[in-house]
């Protein structure tokens, strides 16, 4: 579903991604872990071209996103993204946040989009919050709305960039539960996370990144219980 081939990314002189290769199959959940500044967010943002790469290629469902001829806007409609800081549209109600993209981009009738949005709000456990503005929601609720907003476009893939890192601890669970449901429904997901419990339980594969390279990857059991790379070992000893 996602194929990343030898991507390099620089910010000016700073080389953030130094040749990354990996593959995500359909219905697979891949968790990306690693220390701060290792390039996890950048990698995720290169997948949907929020950042352009210096070299290397990225394919989603067989389409090369790094090809300048690809209609990137059309492609992004199929790739949902969830941000650390939610990035909900504060001037719109939760319902409007969710219906906006389908109405504008797919020309969906408003009533149909709202029906779908209400279904999605129910799915993320917020059935009664449809006419509320983001400012009136807690962090965990905001992130669940953000997930619903991304799902409204019926994406083939969901990218999560530390979706629980800015949440109070008591709200982390409700967001992870929604993500877990999504994984069980067979959504293809790439999740950058510091929640090792989630990575172990829900992830099919774990990638450990450090200094712009993939140091180690494998099943959650292999990475968490029997890490081979000394960097992985020292990282895990700090966070577990």
């Amino acid at each position: 579903m996602i194929e990343v081939k030898g991507i390099h990314k620089n910010f000016g002189r700073l080389e953030v991604l130094k040749g990354i290769d990996f593959h995500v199959s359909e219905r697979e959940v891949v968790c990306v872990i690693g220390p701060s500044g290792s390039g996890k967010s950048t990698l995720l943002r290169c997948i949907n071209q929020l950042e352009t790469v210096q070299s290397g290629r990225v394919f989603i469902d067989g389409v090369e996103v790094t090809n300048p001829k690809t209609d990137i806007n059309l492609l992004r409609q199929q790739v949902g993204m969830v941000f650390q800081l939610f990035n909900l549209f504060p001037h719109k109600t939760t319902l409007e946040n969710i219906t906006m993209a389908p109405v504008i981009l797919k020309g969906m009738p408003k009533e149909q989009a709202e029906e779908i949005a209400i279904g999605l709000l129910r799915k993320v456990g917020l059935p009664d919050k449809d006419h509320v503005y983001p400012a009136q929601l807690s962090g965990g609720q905001k992130q669940r709305v953000a997930i619903a907003r991304a799902l409204a476009m019926h994406p083939k893939v969901m990218l999560f960039d530390e979706p629980t890192s800015s949440l109070d601890p008591e709200m982390v669970g409700e967001v992870l539960a929604v993500m877990k449901d999504l994984a069980h429904e067979g959504m293809t997901m790439v999740v950058v996370t510091h929640e090792m419990g989630f990575a172990r339980e829900v992830g099919h594969r774990v990638i450990f990144m450090d200094e712009g390279v993939i140091m180690e990857e494998g099943t959650p059991c292999a990475i968490f219980d029997n890490p081979q790379n000394p960097r992985t070992q020292s990282f895990l000893s700090k966070v577990l």
Partner: protein
């Protein structure tokens, strides 16, 4: 001899005193002349700020554009109109540039010069407003598949406009005062009428004082309306 009550005595003598002052009579007997001048000023200002807002928005978007050519044109435009005096721009357009293309009267020349000038200030206000919207908003919009203009229209501008309202009201007030400069091309607005009346009556304090009062009433009204709009936006 009967004693007049103090306030009445005071009122009567004050009125009599004022009436004996020539400047006061000049102002009172010309009140409609000032009022009409104020209306011309208001008309100039409203036309110019409206055109300036439309043009300013376009120039702001050009300046933020990724296309070098567009952004350079916007930068040069803003630099020119903010870096040279409006008084000089008015004369340049009225006597120099506009007659090459069309025959505009002084009023239209004044509106054009003030619009072009105001657009430069509006462009900077709008640009600052757009850039004050959190970067994550643009990213969220783009990640959903919106193109740049859809994201601008549905996500960024609706949030920028709240940030833009207070400085825009300030620009409105500044422009109203600056339209006095079109008196140089004999547009019959408030300042020009003051000049004429002064030159026939030689009552500078009374005439210019009255002109100040009319300007003040207009600017105060605009800023009070602005405060009201701001309060409404804040509670929204």
């Amino acid at each position: 001899m009967s004693i007049t009550p103090y306030p009445m005595m005071f009122g009567a003598t004050l009125w009599e005193k004022l009436n004996s002052i020539n400047g006061f009579n000049v102002v009172v007997s010309n009140w409609d002349y000032f009022l009409e001048g104020g209306l011309v000023t208001l008309e100039l200002t409203v036309l110019s700020i409206t055109a300036g807002m439309v043009l300013g928005l376009i120039i702001a978007l050009m300046k933020l554009s990724r296309w070098r050519l567009l952004s350079s044109v916007a930068v040069i435009y803003i630099d020119f109109f903010r870096g040279t005096p409006l008084l000089v721009q008015i004369m340049l357009f009225h006597f120099g540039i506009l007659p090459l293309f069309v025959d505009t009267g002084p009023f239209l020349s004044g509106v054009i010069a003030c619009s072009l000038n105001s657009a430069a200030y509006v462009a900077e206000i709008v640009r600052a407003g757009i850039q004050a919207v959190d970067r994550g908003q643009m990213e969220a919009a783009r990640s959903l598949g919106m193109n740049g203009s859809q994201a601008m229209r549905y996500v960024i501008l609706p949030q920028a406009y709240k940030i833009v309202v207070p400085p825009m009201i300030n620009e409105f007030v500044m422009l109203l005062k600056d339209t006095s400069l079109v008196s140089v091309i004999a547009v019959s607005e408030l300042a020009h009428r003051g000049k004429l009346l002064y030159s026939t009556t030689f009552e500078p304090t009374w005439v210019w004082g009255a002109v100040c009062v009319v300007y003040y009433i207009m600017t105060k009204t605009i800023s009070m309306m602005g405060d009201w709009v701001e309060r409404r936006l804040a509670t929204e």
